[in-house]
Each structure stands twice: as structure tokens, then as C-alpha cells.
């Protein structure tokens, strides 16, 4: 039960962050002028990394750890989703953020691309959250 509560905490935190980023943060960048983007974006990426990176790493290692100590279809599926979010983040999203730094004049179109990429992560984190809630429900009712 404790393991599922830990998972619920970290899955919820990432769910909130990804939806806020998707609905508020990325769209707000499209309204900024290029000089404002070039000043704010490096600070934004550093500050958001401080929040997101520990959560993502904790989720990855905790799910992998659970797969060692309490293996189940849920843990295996969770690891699949978590590794997929890592791949999308580092292979698709991070290069786009780097592109914003080098081409602040094209920030609007790059952030529109980032929103499209981020829908994939939003879907995955939402699915992970729903699955964890469902597992918790099964545990509580069994």
C-alpha cells in the first residue's frame, strides 16, 4: 500500500506539472517577443529542471526498483511508459529547447512544435496516473 501511495504522489506531481506546462507555460511563450524569450527561456529551463528532473529520476528508479522487489504487470507497464517519457523528453523535447536558445526569432513556431510533442508526454503521464489510481482502488477494495 505504501508503495502505491508513493507512486500516487510522484505520478500526481508529474501529471500536474505536465498539464500546467502544456496549457499555461508553453502557450505563454508564444506571446513573448524574441528578446524576452532569449532572456527568460534559459532561466525557465534551469528552474523547471530543478523541479522536474528529481521527480522524473525518482519515478524511473522507483518503478525499476519495484520491478525487482514486487514484480507485476502494472510495474512492467509503468516502466515501459516511464522510459518512453524519458525518450520523448531527451530525444524530442530537449533539442527543441536548445533550438529556442539558438533561434529566439523562431520561438513561436518552435513552441508550437513543443506543444505538439508535449501532448505525447501529457497522454503518457495521464495514463500512468489513471493506472496507479486504478491499482490503488483495486488494493483498497480487495
Amino acid at each position: 500500500m505504501v508503495d502505491l501511495c508513493i507512486r500516487l504522489f510522484v505520478d500526481t506531481a508529474l501529471l500536474m506539472l505536465i498539464w500546467m506546462t502544456q496549457l499555461i507555460v508553453y502557450p505563454s511563450f508564444t506571446y513573448l517577443k524574441s528578446d524576452a524569450v532569449s532572456k527568460w527561456h534559459p532561466l525557465y529551463t534551469k528552474r523547471i529542471s530543478v523541479l522536474v528532473a528529481p521527480l522524473m529520476l525518482f519515478q524511473l528508479f522507483y518503478v525499476a526498483f519495484q520491478l525487482f522487489v514486487a514484480p507485476s504487470y502494472y510495474q512492467a507497464g509503468s516502466l515501459f511508459i516511464v522510459v518512453l517519457t524519458f525518450l520523448i523528453t531527451f530525444v524530442k523535447a530537449v533539442p527543441k529547447h536548445a533550438a529556442v536558445e539558438t533561434n529566439p526569432n523562431q520561438a513561436k513556431s518552435i513552441f508550437q512544435q513543443l506543444v505538439a510533442i508535449n501532448w505525447q508526454r501529457t497522454f503518457l503521464y495521464s495514463a500512468l496516473f489513471v493506472w496507479t489510481v486504478f491499482e490503488l482502488y483495486l488494493k483498497l477494495t480487495s
Partner: protein, 117 residues
């Protein structure tokens, strides 16, 4: 491509080898073995044709991600499954931590690869 075609066929030629490597929490091991075999054969076909090469690479990535739990389970049971595969535990760790990510990276960098005429 040839590697994935052989690997896919092998799931049907030597099913017992693979069935032992599928974690016990998977209900129907023969079904998962068949799915993995068909998946690898489809990926090989996808890689062969330029038009479907990118889809083939995404297929490889999907399969590699799907196999991670099996590699973790293999370490969990001591890197030795009777009538299947037995290796030193450090080999299983190297496979999980180094080789598997390398294979994912390798597949990813070749997603836009075109054979020159």
C-alpha cells in the same frame, strides 16, 4: 534487419528458450512469445523497404522498451533460467544498463537512414 528476422523466427523455432525468459507475472507466456516473434519479423520487413524503414525503427524501439521488464526479471531470478539461459549476473547487468540503451540509441540514430543508390 537480418538479425531481427532470425530473432523473430527463433521465437517459433525454439519457443521454450524464450518462454523461460518471460516473467511469471505475464499470464499467457506463449501469446507474448508469439507477439514478440511476429513483432520482430514485422520490424525486419519494415526495415527492408525504404518507405517503411522509419516505422521499422519505431517498431524496434517499441520492442526494446517492451523487453526491459524481462531483462530486469532475468537479473531478479539470478541471471539463470533452467532450460533457457544462464549467464554470470554481471553480464545480465551489462546487458540491461549498457547494451540495451545502446541498442535503443543505435535504432534511434538510424531512423532517417537512407541507402544511397
Amino acid at each position: 534487419m537480418v538479425f531481427y528476422a532470425f530473432a523473430g523466427l527463433n521465437h517459433f523455432l525454439m519457443p521454450d528458450f524464450y518462454l523461460g525468459l518471460i516473467p511469471d507475472y505475464f499470464d499467457s507466456k506463449p501469446t507474448y512469445n508469439a507477439l514478440a516473434g511476429v513483432g520482430e519479423i514485422l520490424v525486419a520487413i519494415g526495415l527492408y523497404y525504404p518507405l517503411s524503414r522509419k516505422a521499422g525503427v519505431y517498431g524496434i524501439l517499441f520492442l526494446l522498451l517492451a523487453f526491459i521488464p524481462a531483462h530486469i526479471d532475468f537479473i531478479r531470478v539470478g541471471a539463470c533460467v533452467t532450460d533457457s539461459l544462464c549467464v554470470p549476473e554481471w553480464v545480465a547487468w551489462v546487458r540491461l544498463i549498457l547494451i540495451h540503451p545502446f541498442l535503443i540509441w543505435w535504432a534511434w540514430i538510424y531512423r532517417n537512414y537512407r541507402i544511397k543508390d
